[in-house]
């Protein structure tokens, strides 16, 4: 029998009944009395000076209540790297210059969306187009147009990571190879586009309902950009229709709706169109990679050197973190004794690039796992074997960077090897490729400069035993409301239905960094567990006195029963203890408090998950078209809190990461994204979705709640690399730029034929 009564069980999501009945009210659905609708005017130029901006005709249109431009702002620039003012570079409403197609210049509030749209056409903007730069390799040339004044060679951020003696180590390698790769962009494609309802009232308080991954970040950034006190800004996150990294920065809908509402003291709603969503809400960072890898004849990896230039787009966004993490995860999941990374992020006149599920790691893993297979092939070593030889193990220190406690990589490799054997001999033009990965469980970095704990929770026990759990965690679909409720119920010793969670509302919940970097299970989980333990302690003090238990005995609560740990049959009802404890405290409710901030865990993350994925493809050698047959993943995420949730994360990641490898792309012409609609942007749909198999590996992470760690984002990392390796196994061609389209496979096959003649 499991020692747990709640965690590890298959439960319905706590938000499930609302979501399957259409009762869940998203920001997209909200309507307030007296509400107006806003629309945003955007630049058609990739780079231009604003010479004149005349809103007078728009203001006169009947039904229009307000028009705002950069002049209505307090002139601040926003950025999420608040510790580095030079990286806060985005005005949102541009005052003198636009830097990409889609940069906002004005916004309108009107009685209905059609009138607001019509008013946009009446705003006259005179631009002076400036020379623009689109490719990061062009942007860093001496004579390139400057995207931001005073930024030399358009280099926005650089990052350097190094340990060992890389140059010396390459001299001792039997085999060294150097390769170039290109990683493409990707759209988050949240089903609910970015949207906000902002309501500023005559008492000077602003309330914003918004589709977000971090209500706390939005609260702080709005206060900063609008000149309000943080305490006068309340951000509420209703159910949110996806985020995937695109919804934890202040966006144009939130900012413009708030500013319009402040001008009018009326609620204003802005919902971005799908085209705006594709072109202005940031995207995965395209990267140009150089990678040099050296090994001994037996496959022992001695050194790796990586240089990356990323396409930053017009603003910093979260791109600086993506630049760092792609460098760190380029060393994963292997024990390189010598490693060097240099990353450069270049400003360009394209839509800004930022965080997206995997946060720089999917690029690193595509490059790293492709090149490792290339090296293994040249040395005549089996792909599983070379990973086994060099893979990370428990209690490994990445020199000067990170300390890894739990690590089940080798068990994952064993399982995948068995899986490949089971598949047996494959028909012609079929191949299985593998890729290994590791990922963080939340970031340790605090570039946002929060003075609060990274996560905190409050647990309030009411007279009927019902528990109110308050957390700043943001459920954007990944299931944190359910997972945290399960952790609370388990620790407190009650059932899932005893918990009522209140999350993502800065007016009532403790500050929390939100949902990014796979941080919520570990960081919020620890805070929730601590708060529940604090509340339980208060109940047990009372129960101990009431039972007259010998003080050497320990008490606990399980499944609503307060009992002696060694004599589980002797106990009291949880409900009775709660009632009497509250009465005995002069009616004061029981409140437990918990918080978590990582300490002494290196520079990146308190814990890491690991996995190995095998992708099986079938290629048509005539056309280059290929089909994803099966994707099997062996992975470990510590103790599994919510098994249904993990399955969903894993299969969903395959859809998204498979799409990154297979078909998703954002081609541009002179900075204009050419496919900004769901019809033209190709994603994996049900007919393309491969069969998926999950091989769960047991590990226990000492730093995580009940031993749990990351389980959602890491799974986005391996698929593109596994597909690339599978194509090579199937038909012997190597594609080094993403996405791996049939056209690229076709061309490579023809090239290969030509060479073999």
């Amino acid at each position: 029998m499991s020692k747990y009564t709640v965690i590890g069980t298959r439960v319905h999501r706590v938000d499930g009944p609302d979501k399957v009945t259409g009762a869940a009210k998203y920001t997209f659905d909200l309507v307030l009395p007296n509400m107006l609708y806003g629309k945003i005017l955007r630049s058609p130029h990739p780079h231009a000076k604003i010479l004149k901006l005349d809103t007078s005709r728009a203001e006169k249109l009947i039904g229009v209540k307000a028009v705002i431009t950069g002049k209505d702002t307090i002139g601040k620039k926003q950025g999420i790297w608040r510790r580095f003012p030079e990286l806060c570079d985005e005005e949102i409403l541009c005052r003198s210059k636009v830097r990409y197609i889609g940069d906002a210049v004005a916004a309108v509030a009107a009685v209905d969306p059609d009138i607001a749209e019509e008013a946009l056409d009446l705003i006259e903007v005179e631009y002076e187009p400036l020379p623009a730069v689109f490719d990061p390799l062009d942007a860093i040339k001496e004579d390139a147009p400057q995207v931001h004044e005073g930024v030399e060679l358009n280099i926005n951020v650089t990052r350097h990571i190094e340990w060992g003696d890389v140059d010396e180590a390459f001299k001792h390698c039997d085999y060294v190879r150097e390769d170039h790769f290109r990683c493409s962009s990707q759209a988050h494609l949240c089903m609910e586009t970015h949207c906000a309802v902002a309501s500023f009232d005559h008492s000077g308080k602003l309330t914003v309902w918004t589709s977000t991954q971090s209500s706390y970040y939005i609260q702080v950034l709005l206060a900063d950009m609008l000149g309000l006190r943080e305490g006068d800004v309340r951000v509420i996150k209703p159910p949110t229709g996806g985020g995937f990294g695109s919804k934890f920065e202040l966006d144009s809908a939130q900012f413009c709706a708030s500013l319009l509402s402040m001008k009018l003291c009326r609620p204003v709603k802005i919902v971005l169109t799908r085209e705006e969503e594709f072109t202005t809400t940031k995207r995965r960072t395209p990267m140009v990679y150089y990678s040099k890898l050296g090994a001994k004849k037996d496959g022992t990896l001695l050194a790796k050197e990586v240089r990356v230039i990323t396409e930053g787009g017009a603003y910093t966004s979260m791109g600086a973190t993506a630049l760092y993490l792609t460098g760190f995860f380029s060393s994963f999941p292997y024990k390189y004794p010598n490693y060097r990374y240099d990353g450069y992020r270049a400003y360009t006149n394209t839509a800004p690039t930022s965080a997206m599920r995997g946060f720089g790691a999917p690029q690193a893993v595509f490059v790293g796992e492709s090149q490792l297979d290339m090296l293994a092939h040249d040395l005549g070593i089996d792909p599983v074997e070379i990973r086994r030889k060099n893979g990370m193990t428990p209690n490994y220190e990445v020199p000067g960077q990170a300390y890894i406690q739990s690590c089940g990589l080798h068990q994952c490799l064993d399982k995948i090897e068995e899986h490949i054997k089971e598949r047996g001999k494959l028909p012609p033009n079929r191949g299985i490729g593998i890729a290994a990965y590791g990922f963080m469980s939340g970031g340790i970095f605090n570039w946002f400069d929060t003075p609060y704990a990274f996560s905190a929770a409050l647990v309030k026990i009411n007279i009927d035993g019902k528990v109110d759990l308050f957390t700043g965690a943001c459920d954007i679909g990944q299931g944190s409301d359910t997972t945290l409720s399960m952790i609370c119920a388990e620790e407190l010793g009650v059932r899932l239905e005893d918990i009522r969670i209140h999350a993502g509302d800065t007016g009532i919940c403790p500050a929390d960094l939100g949902a990014w970097g796979s941080r919520e299970t570990l960081m919020n989980g620890n805070a929730v567990k601590m708060a529940a333990a604090d509340a339980k302690r208060q109940l047990l003090e009372f129960a101990g006195a009431k039972m007259g238990a010998n003080i050497v005995y320990d008490l606990d609560i399980k499944d609503r029963k307060v009992h002696l740990v060694d004599r589980p049959e002797r106990g009291l009802s949880y409900y009775d203890v709660v009632k009497e404890a509250i009465r005995g405290r002069d009616g004061e409710v029981i409140i437990g408090r918990g918080h978590y901030t990582p300490h002494r865990k290196g520079m990146i993350s308190p814990a890491y998950s690991f996995g190995v994925q095998a992708a099986e493809v079938e290629v048509d050698p005539e056309t280059g078209r290929y089909k994803l047959i099966n994707v099997t993943t062996a992975h470990e995420s510590g103790t599994v809190i919510n098994p249904v949730g993990i399955e969903g994360q894993l299969e969903g990641a395959i859809m998204m990461a498979g799409g990154y490898g297979f078909c998703e792309d954002q081609p541009m012409d002179e900075g204009k994204i050419l496919n900004p609609s769901i019809g033209d942007y190709k994603v994996i749909r049900s007919l393309d979705m491969p069969d998926t198999k999950i091989l769960e590996i047991d590990t226990f992470e000492p730093e995580g709640p009940f031993g749990a760690k990351e389980a959602g984002e890491g799974l986005t990392n391996p698929t593109a690399g596994a597909i690339g390796n599978a194509i090579y196994k199937a038909v012997g061609v190597r594609i080094t730029d993403l996405p791996i389209t049939p056209e690229k496979v076709f061309r490579a096959l023809r090239e290969k034929e030509k060479q073999s003649k």
Partner: protein
Amino acid sequence: MKQELKLTVNGQPYELYVNPKTLLVEVLRDELGLTGTKRGCESASCGACTVNLNGMAVKSCTILALQANGGEVLTIEGLAHGTELDAIQKAFLDYGAFQCGFCTSGMLMAAKGLLDENPTPTTEEIKEYIDGNVCRCTGYNSIIRALNAVAKGEYKEKR
């Protein structure tokens, strides 16, 4: 010039006056307040707005409200049987067939259309039927497992 529209939605008859260019999804969401039906694109390509019209699954953003005149519409709000969830809804809960939930109403109504038309679809038929509905969270396989379970009679006594 507004025109008269008679529509039965979830068993309730309505008489409305609408602009001829008004879409069915706009009437449902903006006039009747049935916000369970979502909109995810402007190009009839995501399926989030799927409802049932006269027993067939349709994308309500592709239909003018007046084209549905005299018709019977079933939306997600009418899928449950009073306080008892429909079998498909139960299966979605059991199999974790949704995450953010934004595509879920459309997905459920597409599934309803499929199972009314063909109560025992194969996996391939399920995949084909829901290929017009984009889900960015689940990777579809949990949805397919849920619908397979309903098709195989796992929820028979409840449907």
